[in-house]
Amino acid sequence: MTNWLEKHLPKIVLGPSFIAIILFVYGFIAWTAWISFTRSRLMPKYDIVGFIQYERLFDSPRWGVAIDNLFIFGFLFILISMFLGLLLAIFLDQKIRIEGTLRTIYLYPMALSLIVTGTAWKWILNPGLGLEAVFRNWGFSEFKFDWLINPDFAIYTVVIAGVWQASGFVMALFLAGLRSVDQEIIKAAQVDGVPTFKIYSAIIIPSMAPIFLSAFIVLAHLAIKSFDLVIALTGGGPGYATDLPATYMYTMAFSRGDIGQAASSAIIMMIVVFAVVVPYLYSELRAKNDE
């Protein structure tokens, strides 16, 4: 009896969580997919009517804006965060004196919730209260920085706030990665007279490839999850110029009683996530099989 228990105890302990995940995550994903094929409005209906919700979704100009914004925001956010994070990490790696303090300062924004970040940046970027007003009071009367209220540029303000929040975290990831590079190789390269820049670009950065991947995954999921940042910073505005699929989904589900639309937009979001995650998983599994 105890032998059997000892052999199966891990399965028994994990069992409840496993079942809960199957039911509440995958079960409800399946439920959402079902609802996305029905004409549900206020309450869920279960008669399948075909792809009409998806047709309505892609006919809607607001969804077009949301998807464009997802790609603009996602691409710029991930790229700039990684670049800034790497730069900051390399600078901090130069064995400077107050490294500990600087590291903490750069990492602090990550501790703030996105709502606080959004609200603070909303005040900073407000033309009448923030940067534009400050520069004008200092005498630059022609200074203009009204991206926040400009429908064409508002999404870039979301990028600014997001990058400010996340680059400290990316910096911490890269700093750890830089420190883990084998010091012998670097010393050998320095002895050979290789310039510092070349050491970084040819030796250290390529050896940090796994860290780039982890940073990418973390940033990508932060980008897709960005609901509270947009709501706090612009409220989806001006008009709906900074709408993202997540805010679109929320509006359809809870403000407009149009569950069918919300479900179809959620499934599309999931497909976008899969498009990013599945190749990564595939490459990981293949690498394991090769070993």
Binding site: R41, L42, M43, R56, D59, S60, P61, R62, K122, N126, P127, G128, L129, D146, L148, I149, P151, T234, G235, G237, P238, G239, Y240, A241, T251, F254, S255, R256, G257, D258, Q261
Partner: protein, 415 residues
């Protein structure tokens, strides 16, 4: 020993059965009136209910203009345990009726002569397929224009009677450095201004055809193009920082003379009164240029509940809501006017008197119309489609013809 246990068991069961017997009318009420003045107003109903022997279970769910409350409601209905009364308004009432969730309170309505004391179009919203299913609490008027009295007087202007007059007044004030229109760039505020302009330019029949019947001819007409033209002109009258501003901050701009006008519903009056301003002296209220009255009626929809105490509680609640006392006290606190037409208005201020007189006149004249921007005329998806178009046009350089095309497409898409 056994006898002692038996006696104890019988005694306990008797006490339990005694407490399960009829305990008086009960009502569980779901609402989102959680801010200062609103919470005070709900407390009035609570007090009256308990004075009449009922026990009230409050279910306040704050925030989001009712979004969170609607989510809580959906969960309760799905689990089969709906609250007795829910703060719902407009077509949502009929939408919930179609889901089979509402109760029939026609007996209360007929006993208390509701059809005689409520205006016809308002009574229509409270009925589901001819049977009464909701009780109206108040009538908010949407198409008000508020002005700073001294700004207008010192520049020699009166309240505009036509949109052309408004444009001329606004241009003159703008030249003097005063912001003509205080506005908050949130979708619902854009929609509020839009429907006031549409009513003024198109008239009551156009408004009804376009925003209640969603008639394609009206939506594609030249009148609609003219409405969007006027919206483009209005866009030039708002200040640079209007994006995302809350409505009460825009009211504050009118109060301190920074701006001259605001187009907002009658809840703006509460802001003025709370700051100690006197209607007629410090601020002026008038209907926006045009014939008609756009209303927003808050109401409690009665959901199907089980148990005679809950059903009695529901009936008592419905009776009290349309009762003269509650209608008077609630609306004094909230800034709206009673839905009931025979309530004495001597304690209400000037603006409320104008509103009530206009409501009766427009009810008789057939120009008493539901507001689309505040969820009275259309269901969520269609109202949302119109608002999306209005706000996209207001915040861009879209031409009026493009906006009309987008409007028609959006409404087709939302059906």
């Amino acid at each position: 020993m056994f006898k002692k246990i038996a006696v104890a068991a019988i005694a306990t069961s008797l006490t339990i059965s005694a407490s399960v017997s009829y305990a008086g009318p009960k009502a569980e009420v779901l609402h989102w009136w959680t801010s200062g003045g609103e919470a005070k107003s709900v407390a009035v109903l609570q007090k009256e209910f308990s004075e009449n022997g009922g026990s009230w279970t409050d279910m306040p769910v704050a925030g989001g203009g009712g979004d969170a409350a609607m989510t809580a409601l959906r969960a309760r209905v799905l689990s089969g345990n709906a609250p007795a009364a829910v703060q719902l308004k407009g077509p949502s009432i009929q939408e919930w009726y179609e889901e089979g969730a509402l109760a029939d309170i026609s007996d209360v309505a007929n006993k208390n002569n509701w059809s005689k004391v409520l205006p016809e179009s308002i009574a229509g919203h409270m009925k589901c397929e001819g049977k009464w299913c909701a009780a109206p609490v108040n009538v908010h008027r949407i198409d008000w224009i508020w002005a700073n009295a001294s700004v207008l007087k010192s520049n020699g202007f009166g309240m505009p009677k036509t949109w052309d007059e408004f444009n001329a007044t606004a241009k003159a004030l703008q030249a003097k450095g005063i912001i003509p229109l205080a506005h908050g760039g949130q979708a619902w505020q854009d929609a509020t201004v839009f429907e006031a302009v549409a009513l003024g330019i198109g008239g009551a029949n156009f408004f009804h055809d376009a925003f209640v019947k969603l008639d394609k001819k009206a939506l594609q007409s030249d009148t609609m193009v003219k409405v969007f033209d006027q919206m483009r002109i209005m866009r030039g009258f708002v200040d640079k920082n209007f994006s995302g501003r809350d409505w009460n901050l825009a009211t504050a701009m009118v109060m301190n003379g920074e701006a001259a006008f605001q187009i907002m519903g009658d809840w703006a009056k509460c802001e003025f009164l709370a700051a100690g301003k006197v209607p007629g002296k410090d601020f002026l209220c008038a209907s926006t240029p045009g014939e008609g009255f756009l209303y927003n009626v808050d109401s409690f929809a009665m959901f199907k509940v089980k148990g005679s105490d809950r059903q009695d509680g529901q009936k008592l609640l419905a009776k009290l809501i349309v009762g003269k006392n509650f209608q008077k006290v609630f609306n004094l606190n909230k800034g709206s006017i009673p839905a009931r037409t025979d309530v004495a208005l001597n304690e209400f201020d000037r603006c409320a008197h104008v509103s009530a007189a206009d409501m009766n006149a427009s009810s008789v004249g057939g120009t008493l119309l539901p507001s689309y921007a505040h969820g009275m005329a259309l269901r969520g998806a269609q109202a949302g489609a119109i608002t999306d178009t209005v706000t996209a046009h207001f915040n861009s350089n879209m031409s009026s013809k493009e906006a009309v095309a987008m409007l028609v497409k959006a409404i087709d898409n939302s059906k």
